[in-house]
Subunit: 693 residues, 2 copies
């Protein structure tokens, strides 16, 4: 018996090294979680041939049916009070819904269940009506915080506005992928928006994109530049109360809707990080948002107005969105939604939830999540973000008593809202595999699945994604133990691993300037806004480390509802994962495990490195179960991640030891360079930089 | 009690970080193992004021006496048949010897014993008459394989031949350091010798150097270029049998002795790596050496003729020195010594001993050791070489029965020899601390101590060196446990650690081209001599790895005396440390510990990295016991060594896996870059290179 095991192991390895073609077909990752299967015969009824959406539903069934051969699947448009929005019901081989999109979602769910081995009836309603991707795509084709190639929507050059077959093919693939996970909306351009977005050629291209997306149930939205009336329209002002400005926007909205009658609306980043906004004209965010909302209202369009605002003068950036927006609660039109980033700072590997969630009781609030890994290793590092988002959704705001979770205060469970929505900043680009890192596909997938059902568990999402993405086409009874289990564990651990090697215990925003890839706790070039430099956030000195947001500090804790306010104010009751977010503590502060703060920080950094190393081992061992192409891509990414993790650990150890003046614990692996190396080496390019300190 | 320990630990750390000045005086390392001490009063008799050497002996006692205050030390020149050469006797406070140098050595030994706490009487005779440093110093001041700054003897520029006070001070410090460990000879220039060495200005400078070295008992030697009669003397030939050539050398030797009457002789690298030699004129090594020996004979000068010869045509470089020189055994003049590198290849981290040791029975053979770490990490890596040399000296050649160790077949114990000698290629340069790495001083020290007594144990040498170099000036009862023990362990382990992360199990010469710093198992630019490329040495292919030197291979084993010849020929009896030096083995070959060869290689590389990491921890923990200057210097070197070790491991893992096609064992830490990175990154500069493969 043992001999056989050994022999088969050998065979597996020979396979892995020698004749890969025989083992698993090369996979460039382009098919995402929608890989072709050997479909069985099936009949589909109820697909009204006039409906492009139902035609898609039918085709999807025909090309992926794994149920009983020769079965008949019924698609049924119904009236059913148990179904909300584009919810659906699967009963046996029947999929019913009140909308065509609902049927399409039901079909994808049915096929997914077949593939993942979970055959059962279900009624499923979406948590949010609007499940939207924000593409930070610039009109020249570049993508802000994009790490997987250029924009699939925009490009520079002579044929920038030519709609090619390749364009349409890619857009359709994109739409299909989104539909398969319930995403029903896309903002096609960067929130740092060009006024040109509303130009003629740009809108024409939007129309072409919308036409491809529409059958898949996806509505098109645009991010707009608040100064468009001036910079595009030639007006002297963009004052939202100016009649000419109002007129200009109404005309522009009419123009848009003429092109795209089901256009979704505008996303606006105003008076934030240098973007124009109503405050430039001494108007309020409400003035600005409402003016646009009024223009969109006749068409049922909406405004998603971002709360991500802060300025250099305030003494705590974390407090500013709340301070800025709470006074306007209830002052917004009913087709305005305030889009709030998950944390008060900015998509950090870990932050507490934004205190605006649940606090704005008379204005709908939508979470903005970042799928693209700006702060979690770009497309180089493996970080499955479902766990981070699950942590957010489950956070209790206590705003309407216990169980006022972020999920429930945003999805309409607690506050009556005309619109509910959740946004994810997309990680999609022109790379063949869409997301650069093969495992970053899982974040796109997870965002969609959680937008549909914000009660889903990360483990269940990982379960689906792994099976859809990697399950062998030929049954392999070892696969579960050999691939599925270890890879699932790796994914579920991965976000915490990033936190460990970079910013554990509530540390935040100690990144290298600009690209936010590696460490830069020291980064503070002269003349830079303090709130754009890491020392502002970590506050390390000889006495300790951390940002004091207690009542005796900036009192940011006051923005949270009791009991959180008191809990965060008291170091003893603050969850240790948020410790240095709320407290400035002595290096010798004792954690619950008995370690000093300094030792614990060192140990987290060190543990993170070893955990990524373990990912490498895990991945090496799954080689027999995965095609060579994806195996090699991920293996190479993991090599880099370990290198990066080591870079994080070493830089943090050496930088902070300058203040702590304490030794590293014995078990902590020592740095392999001097501090100056880390300061003068760009962690992204690994080339020398001359950073002014 | 525990509280006190903790408090004192804290104090130590505060000390380490805050007020270093209070703890241990900054030490630039310039004083080597001869640091100033608080000497007690002492009287010295017997120091004949006419003797510069005895004056030094007296001064040394006066400035370092740690015996009974007010004692009288007697220096006595005696006739004593128990004393050989410059041996000495210490009896109470009396030092006696048959030569002035002997007294000086006895004084240094007495003072060393006082400092290291080993007070006892002793009679001590040197193992070798000539204990010589070979300086590979070029006349322009550069040093071949020198890593600690430029030459202390030579320099380029306008004042190249000006003898400054700084020159003389440095030469005297150098002479004193040598004398303190029994070194009594120096070759002032590179074995790849410039003909100009014998020019007028150069010889004048040599005279000035010799004058400073002489009182310390150090004789001066020169390396000569065999073509000097042509290239310096303008003759048409350098044929050793040509009367004009013979005449030229006789005249040159006379000129040298006129300048330096106690001149030691010539060191010659002939017909080796492009150097000229007698074979250029169809003469033999014996012809060449004997001609020079005849010229030197009248002055009691000697010739040290290097056996380091090999050419590209032979199919095994390891065999060549033996093949070349054995036919001439007994054909050399009695003032010729054949200088043989410790191993058959070239100063590798580990090789078996050269088969010439003990085999040349009628010709004196002297070992050539390399103190400068050409192949063991330059002055960047910590590698205490005493263990390597101890391994060599103790190797049994069996040439005259059991216990014909390399030590005994070279030191006159077995073969009657007119001259006995041992050479060490120096690691000294103009750096303040002489050797670049503070711990490289220990190799200079160890070479000298073993040259004096080739039976010394590495541990005893480390014991002396650590105490002399690092012992606190103020008694600290924790020092032994806190510093001495861990540092000694680190030193004793260090050479094996280098072997582990670079070339375990008999691998050899898989270095990056030219600088021999990091890995380059792939290095084989087109057109390069095969025996200058690593694939020649590792012979890796899909079937296995290693150089087959058995009877069915190149039969290099035949050059060893039985039982070694059979032992090395049989894989089962070959010591595993030499496994791949003698055998080409399957990747699945089972080692004694049950591991496959592939797994064992991976584990060695991996272990090596972890061992250096442990050195870092060890060193961090001794911080309270060492001055900040040396602490930081060594700490930084160890950081680099870990980085380098990781580079070695990763490069080896990835390169050889191409052939082994086997997975890494689970416990082996994965690479952090792709193979191509290691191939295209220079391991010394860490900058990109374009190496042709």
């Amino acid at each position: 018996m043992k001999m056989i095991t050994k022999a088969s192991k050998k065979l597996i390895w020979a396979c892995a090294f020698v004749s890969l073609a025989l083992c698993a077909k090369a996979d460039d990752g382009h098919n995402l979680w929608l890989r072709p299967v050997n479909a069985k015969a099936v009949k589909v009824t109820g697909a009204n041939p006039k409906s492009a959406t139902l035609a898609i539903a039918k085709k999807e069934i025909e090309q992926a049916w794994l149920g009983t051969a020769g079965a008949t699947v019924k698609l049924k448009l119904v009236k059913d009070p148990t179904l909300k929005a584009d919810g659906f019901k699967i009963a046996g081989n029947t999929v019913s819904a009140t909308t065509e999109s609902g049927i399409l979602y039901g079909v994808y769910e049915m096929l997914r269940r077949q593939q993942t081995g979970n055959i059962s009836n279900v009624v499923s309603n979406p948590s949010y009506q609007i499940r939207i991707l924000n593409h930070w795509d610039n009109l020249n084709g570049s993508i802000e915080r994009g790490y997987a190639g250029n924009s699939i929507f925009w490009r520079a050059g002579d044929n920038a506005f030519t709609v090619t077959d390749a364009d349409k093919k890619r857009w359709e693939e994109y739409a299909r992928a989104n539909a398969s996970i319930g995403i029903n909306a896309s903002v096609l351009n960067n929130v740092n928006a060009s006024p040109n977005m509303l130009g003629e050629k740009e809108l024409a291209r939007m129309k072409a994109i919308a036409a491809v997306l529409r059958p898949y149930g996806i509505k098109t939205y645009l991010a707009i530049n608040f100064a468009s009336p001036m910079r595009l329209g030639g007006l002297k002002t963009a004052d939202p109360l100016d009649p000419e400005v109002i007129k200009w926007w109404k005309a522009k909205v009419a123009e848009v809707y003429k092109l795209v009658p089901d256009f979704g609306g505008f996303l606006v980043k105003a008076n934030s990080e240098g973007q124009p906004g109503p405050q430039d004209f001494k108007r309020t965010h409400a003035d600005g948002a409402n003016m646009l909302a009024d223009a969109l209202k006749p068409y049922k369009g909406i405004v998603m107005w971002r709360a991500f605002v802060y300025n250099a003068e305030e003494k705590d950036r974390a407090k500013q969105a709340y301070l800025e927006f709470m006074p306007f609660d209830g002052k917004f039109r009913d087709n305005v939604i305030i889009q709030v980033k998950n944390g008060p700072i900015d998509f950090q590997p870990r932050e507490p939830f934004s205190p605006l969630f649940g606090a704005m009781k008379k204005t709908p609030v939508m979470p903005e999540l970042q799928i693209t890994q700006e702060y979690l290793g770009h497309a180089e590092q493996l970080a499955f973000l479902a766990t981070m988002w699950e942590e957010l959704y489950k956070s209790d705001t206590y705003q309407e008593g216990k169980n006022s979770t972020v999920a429930r205060v945003t999805d309409g469970s607690i506050f009556p809202q005309k619109y509910t929505a959740v946004a994810g900043v997309s990680n999609v680009g022109l790379d063949t595999n869409w997301t650069g890192h093969d495992f970053a596909q899982a974040n796109w997938y997870a965002f969609g699945r959680l937008a549909w059902n914000n009660q889903l568990k990360s483990e269940d999402i990982a379960n689906e994604w792994i099976k859809l993405t990697f399950a062998p086409t030929i049954e392999n009874k070892d696969w579960n133990k050999g691939f599925y289990e270890p890879v699932k564990k790796m994914m579920l651990d991965s976000r915490e691993v990033v936190v460990n090697y970079s910013m554990p215990l509530g540390l935040h925003h100690i990144f290298a300037g600009n690209h936010h890839y590696g460490p830069g706790a020291w980064y503070a070039p002269r003349g830079t806004r303090k709130d754009w430099t890491p020392p502002y956030y970590h506050q390390a000195d000889e006495n300790g480390i951390g940002f004091d947001r207690t009542k005796t500090g900036t009192d940011a804790v006051d923005q949270y509802h009791e009991p959180l306010s008191s809990e965060f104010n008291n170091v003893a009751t603050t969850p240790e994962i948020y410790l240095l977010y709320f407290h400035h503590l002595s290096w010798d502060y004792k954690l619950k495990n008995g370690q000093t703060l300094w030792d614990a920080l060192c140990n987290h950094w060190n543990t993170g490195v070893n955990q990524v190393r373990q990912f490498q081992v895990t991945w090496d061992k799954v080689q027999p179960y995965v095609d060579a192409e994806r195996f090699t891509r991920v293996q190479e990414k993991l090599r880099r991640q370990t290198r990066d993790a080591q870079f994080w650990k070493d830089a943090n150890l050496l930088y902070f030891q300058q203040f702590s003046k304490r030794p590293f614990p014995d078990n902590v692996e020592r740095p392999i360079n001097n501090l100056n190396y880390y300061i003068t080496t760009d962690p992204l390019s690994m080339k020398p930089v001359q950073q002014r300190r």
